[in-house]
Symmetry: C2
Subunit: 608 residues, 2 copies
Amino acid sequence: MCGIVGYIGPKQAQNILLEGLRKLEYRGYDSAGLAVYQDGRLNVRKTKGALSALEGRLNGSPLSGEVGVGHTRWATHGKPSDENSHPHVDQQRRFSVVHNGIIENYMELKEELAEKGYSFTSETDTEVIAHLMADLDDGDVVSTVRKAVRRMKGAYALAIASVSEPDKLVAVRLASPLIVGVGEGENFIASDIPAILQHTRNVYVLEDGEMAVITRDGVELSTTGGQPVNREMLRVTWDAVTAEKGGYDHFMLKEIHEQPKAIRDTLAGRLKDDSVDLSWELSGLSDDLKQIDKIHFVACGTAYHAGLIGKSVVEKVARIPVEVDVASEYRYRDPILTPSTLVVVISQSGETADTLAALREAKKAGSKVLGITNVVGSSVAREADEVLMTWAGPEIAVASTKAYTTQLIAIYLFSLYLARLRGTWSEEELKRATAAISALPEQVQRILDAPEAIQRFARSIAEHEDLFFIGRGLDHAVVKEGSLKLKEISYIHSDAYAAGELKHGTLALIEDGVPVIALATQPSVYEKMVSNIIEVKARGARVLGLGLEGDTELAKSVDETITIPETLPLFTPVLAVTPLQLLAYYTSIARGLDVDKPRNLAKSVTVE
Amino acid sequence: MCGIVGYIGPKQAQNILLEGLRKLEYRGYDSAGLAVYQDGRLNVRKTKGALSALEGRLNGSPLSGEVGVGHTRWATHGKPSDENSHPHVDQQRRFSVVHNGIIENYMELKEELAEKGYSFTSETDTEVIAHLMADLDDGDVVSTVRKAVRRMKGAYALAIASVSEPDKLVAVRLASPLIVGVGEGENFIASDIPAILQHTRNVYVLEDGEMAVITRDGVELSTTGGQPVNREMLRVTWDAVTAEKGGYDHFMLKEIHEQPKAIRDTLAGRLKDDSVDLSWELSGLSDDLKQIDKIHFVACGTAYHAGLIGKSVVEKVARIPVEVDVASEYRYRDPILTPSTLVVVISQSGETADTLAALREAKKAGSKVLGITNVVGSSVAREADEVLMTWAGPEIAVASTKAYTTQLIAIYLFSLYLARLRGTWSEEELKRATAAISALPEQVQRILDAPEAIQRFARSIAEHEDLFFIGRGLDHAVVKEGSLKLKEISYIHSDAYAAGELKHGTLALIEDGVPVIALATQPSVYEKMVSNIIEVKARGARVLGLGLEGDTELAKSVDETITIPETLPLFTPVLAVTPLQLLAYYTSIARGLDVDKPRNLAKSVTVE
């Protein structure tokens, strides 16, 4: 999940490439680099660290020239270092390569090239590509790229500059996103649209197994096998204004606060006559939704946690059996798929590599696929049979917040729509649910308006290195997400457990003063949950209880209490997760960390 | 999950009660106590700590008398302390109560009694019972117990002595195991048979809602409502020799080493003509097994991890969709159960409260239940439609080892039998599987015979407080078990992740020198797994790779390697978990901890 840019035109490449990389920094930021062609040479500047480190180096020693490629990296092979940064070049510096993805057979290729005498300066799989091209070089850069690609296994988006044909850049895509931007007398390559939006709104989206050759004045698309490709040009109509922090210290806090709006936007137009109507959006699945006898939710990370809620909700509301899978596991476990199975894939970016692969697997097996995604035109949106968009707007912070809550809303809408189609809920029940879901934006706002108790608790845990979350039922799914948030940005080693499972082992980790965050928002398991809280209290834990407004009992068994407004038990996850998001945020701040760019992580995971 | 004993007869009660408690110590050991009647008084000695602490106190000040009750505790309400130890008495010391279980409405009862002027000396729910009986006392102990029980909600096994009728002990059971031992001129109460086995082999097993009144010469069974109960006496034929450590330093190490035998015993008589035959054992389900269209595995802790393997194996081998649930969640999630759903419950003790409740829920819904358990005559064995025994022998160490591997064997046998019944595997495939499973005992033995590399690695991680396990597919289920073992007995905060999920958050926790244990035993995901290993290596982790014998690639990407013999990929969990069990054991030893009795945990969890 690195960021790639390429430029060819009449202007100085360096600044255009840097600006582009800045817009892609959310894709990875452990190192960055540029290669620019001038006077028969490919000159490279690259360095470990954020983009600002590269800018510092370029200030001292700028790159002149009108053709070049750039890269912001999120390490996969080889740790973040100057040597491992992209672009990579071959020994004669004939080719310069930037790469997003993983070359799975790089070790085999490396050994083969090493035997031929090639020597390597980095630990990356990418450098192998540069040497491989040097080895296969026939003087024609396009033909050389084609030969090299034939030898490579894995997933990649590539942008390649050469000394032999400096008037051309070559872009190649297999399972990692890549676009070509078409300007006037200049053209662009990028991993994502924002990188080029200030220069052009005309875009070609490359598909798997395709390549583009760009010159100042033209773009030629073909398959890597050599067949010409005709693709319609996409005209991007997005708002070009960069997502800004809007007065907040960090994107994450801004995005947490955008949740009431994001939820309202995601509900808009979908609630009609005291019920849910998705008939227009899901028309392509309307027969299937009545007949399916099985649903699989498949997703990664935070979206997987939304899927866990999905299982509970769909089973309760529509009485269809549901399985939830981590996408990286699903692909390889030979899932039982039939034409009456509906696979629901969830991905904020719509480009998550494992999730996309699961989508394709399901389609191949003849099952229908519903996508839940936040990005129009993303691979998930294009390839699923139908799409339910979350209207959360761009999410920049690595730790996902508004994407998660709007994924929950999409799942609720979908479940209620299923219940209506299949008659498992009465009109009265649907009416009550519609009223309750409509109240959620205002209820989230109330939580956001009173963060003091959460800030206090965040300061009190900032010195700890271990923490546990517990919950039962839907609360269990919510604490998994709360724990992930905390881990991601505070680096506190936290875990989330089904409260009834503690006794079966994990209780051994509870010692005097360990913070435990306990959710008790589910009436049906409330008493059992209090018993579990008392168990950890008896071992010396300091417990923060999160319960419903009006609960006067919980405070008797815990050290501190935070409450959330009451709604239908089914919908509490939306309200319960909000304080946990804030807790993660304020804990990260109290520990002095970079909230929006946690170490080792990147926003959209387009490698497996 | 405390241990209860009671004695009435001609001998001194103290020593008989102490001996009984010693046999029950595996049920809990954070405090212990006795109450013995003499000359119109109930004299109590109780103390925090292991049974030896109580013995010390009794040496200084012995209890004389021929009637009494005893208790070894595993704290639920109120931390381990002298005051919270059992037996509990009322203010006038008219009643003395020992209790296993949880009184869910104790807070309400306590407030009511406090208003009447009763004052409490402990934080336990049990003390409330003693005061409640005093409040309801009508001079007849049996009638008083009946009145008290009517007010109590929750789960309990009770043994009660009184001053008013010192020639009687009363035992009551609701959802916690309790038996009565019938001697000659003496009678016994106990949570479990071993406690009384050196005195008698004649036993009544109480059922839920039943009570027993025992005197020197008689035992009377009735419901708590007052209806007489006729129960056949059970004649116990078990080997009375206590499970001994057999030359090992700890029960856990002994039990790890017993695995080849336990697996052999569990296979015995079930492999016939190059295939699996369970027709005799599962005759009551033979029609169902052909027709079921859905399986739910339900269990807790280690047995739940066996269930995770069960899902993969059954789906692969028999192509029946499977869900796996933690029992404490399953009961409350309103699972979709039909007559064509088979619920498989797994519990070593057969008394795990949440698992039992799930079993009952499933039967009530009309589904069939298969029990997998290690204890003949246990509640699971008695209540399931059919039982597949694991023949692991008694497991004393809290950290389960041989129970887990034999649960896996039972699951394999069951899956292969299903495949044979339903024709999803050919005779050739079954033959190959039968040969491979038969070789497992010898292969486990080979791992046990060469523990040096594991011992070395254990010493190297003993100083760490955090550790991560990663794996894909079946390896993911195995690392969950490996991580639980390590947590339970070494108190190292460890976690197990699906390797493909690291990028979605947890990678933030990886920093320089953090130990990571990576399993790479599954050929179908081997390359992906190596990519994930390289990701954590790139962040500075120190990686122990666990792979198959003959794998020369793995060592190139990790810091240290341990190998296991090759078998069918389906069966590797049995071999892969063995080094992880040893690792947990040797790490606990290196940290100087009590392997067999980890803090806060008890063997068999008969409360929810």
